[in-house]
Amino acid sequence: MGTTDDLAIEASGLAKSYKDVRVLSGVDLRVPAGTVFALLGPNGAGKTTTVRILATLVAADAGAARVAGYDVRRDRSRVRRKISLTGQFAALDEMQTGTENLRMMGRLSGLSRAEARPRARELLEQFDLTKAADRRVATYSGGMRRRLDIAASLVARPSVIFLDEPSTGLDPHSRLAMWQVIEGLAESGVTIFLTTQYLEEAERLADRIAVLDAGRIIAEGTSAELKRKVAAQRLDITGASRAAFDQLVRHFGDNAVHTDDGNLTLGVPTEGDAAEVRALLDAADPGRDLIADFTVHGATLDDVFLTLTGHIKETSHV
């Protein structure tokens, strides 16, 4: 058996344009079976298009992809039997109940009436929706809807699960619940491919992360590996006054990976050893009156993102 058998998703050179707009320009991906993979990127990076190509809903203009062992173009039906897709918009009938939605999806994925019934019950239980089972989906909260949507995608026991921005638009409580759902799925041994704009989400859920920017993968690895691509540590300095802060900003210039005007704080990369930190502080503040405070901590994925893309991702704190 070759190495490709161990990959749940393998894509090379995926390209896609809509009219004159190039959405993807050569995306390569390799996702080992049974792992959680996050495609991280800002709005408009091409995440949804990538997912739709891998889930056979859209044909790529160029490149090839195999999912669950089958070519997404030639063996579309076989791929579809192995995967599920949950998009950003709930794929449910508002005017049917939770149970009815799940039974319908079960029947459409080839279960008999008698098989679909207990499967629906089982999934409602698993996703903590038993109480709402016989209510119309229109009455569900955003978090319940998202859970039912994922439940519906699991009816046929897919081995590769695509989740397109699973926590976008959810309140913090529902987001946490969603993360637990995804962690539960990961433990069951399926392959999960999720997209997210949230660094924290990717870091918490994914074994490996690929950073997608403007239709290209600009980095790939574990969150630790990605962080190592920039300096291991970050030195955050707080100015003693507005004037001092402005002087510090001028001193560090492009070396600052972030600046926060409100708190008079800026961050610069460092290896984190005492000698280097001391040298950085002395160089920035020879008169020892500009810096009120400093902290040194491990780099976050935000630092990675900034370093890799050269632009600040629209801040989206989880």
Partner: protein, 247 residues
């Protein structure tokens, strides 16, 4: 095939859950029948009982309004996320659309029976054999199927459900400008050519002839040709539009 039946079941269930749609499907035909017979009927003198003349026309108009809701339901499916779920479950576009059309047929079968019952209540007396009666219903349902496919294609061609709703007005125009409510000979000369040669007239005349026991020749061939033609062209158009929408 079985996917199409599951989709039809879904579509029927959804239509029972939406009170406005149910009202449109069941009450509108009855109201139209009453409006035509009692409000307009007194002013129309065509030599026979007007209720006998107009009942087949109202049946056609009901078929048109009923079938046109298919445009809205298809459009809603395409606009929401659910079409992606169906496709990722490997449900074909044909099954999704055929489900909507099948549900439309069943809905219209029920409303047709209701309209006939109401027509009976207000004096409609058909003079036909059981076979002719069944044939009239058969042609009406064939017309519903063709119109539903047309509406499905219409729903795929527009982006917003509100726009899909206009399929109804487009189709209703054809029923009004035909022999459904008044004989073509009473229309202005410039309209007669159009009214006699557009599909609603031969279809109404055939249904009316079968129900009232008119002597042959009925424009049966022309009615069948229109129904099958509209159906086949619309199916082809729907297939092309579905592929384009999901490319």
């Amino acid at each position: 095939m079985s996917d199409a039946l599951i989709m039809a079941g879904r579509s029927l269930r959804l239509s029972t859950r939406s009170p406005e749609a149910l009202l449109t499907a069941l009450m509108l035909p009855v109201m139209l029948m009453v409006v035509f017979v009692y409000l307009f009927g007194g002013a129309v003198d065509i030599g026979t009982t007007y209720v006998d003349y107009v009942a087949p026309g109202v049946l056609l108009l009901c078929a048109v309004t009923g079938a046109s809701t298919t445009a809205v339901t298809v459009c809603q499916d395409m606009a929401g996320g659910i079409i992606d779920r169906f496709r990722s479950l490997d449900v074909s576009g044909t099954a999704v659309l055929a489900g909507h059309v099948t549900a439309s047929l069943l809905r219209n079968f029920v409303s047709t029976l209701l309209v006939i019952a109401v027509a009976f209540g207000i004096g409609f007396r058909p003079h036909s054999s059981v076979g002719d009666f069944a044939a009239a219903i058969g042609i009406l349902l064939l017309f519903v199927a063709a119109t539903s496919w047309f509406a499905a294609a219409f729903g795929l061609g527009v982006r917003a459900p509100e726009a899909a709703n206009s399929a109804m007005f487009f189709l209703m125009f054809f029923s009004y400008a035909s022999s459904a409510f008044v004989p073509v000979r009473t229309m202005p000369t410039w309209l007669r050519g159009f009214a006699s040669h557009q599909p609603a007239t031969p279809i109404t005349e055939t249904i009316r002839g079968l129900l009232l026991g008119h002597p042959a020749p009925l424009p049966l061939g022309s009615a069948l040709a229109w129904c099958i033609g509209i159906g086949v062209v619309s199916m082809g158009l729907a297939a092309v539009l579905f592929r384009r929408r999901t490319a």
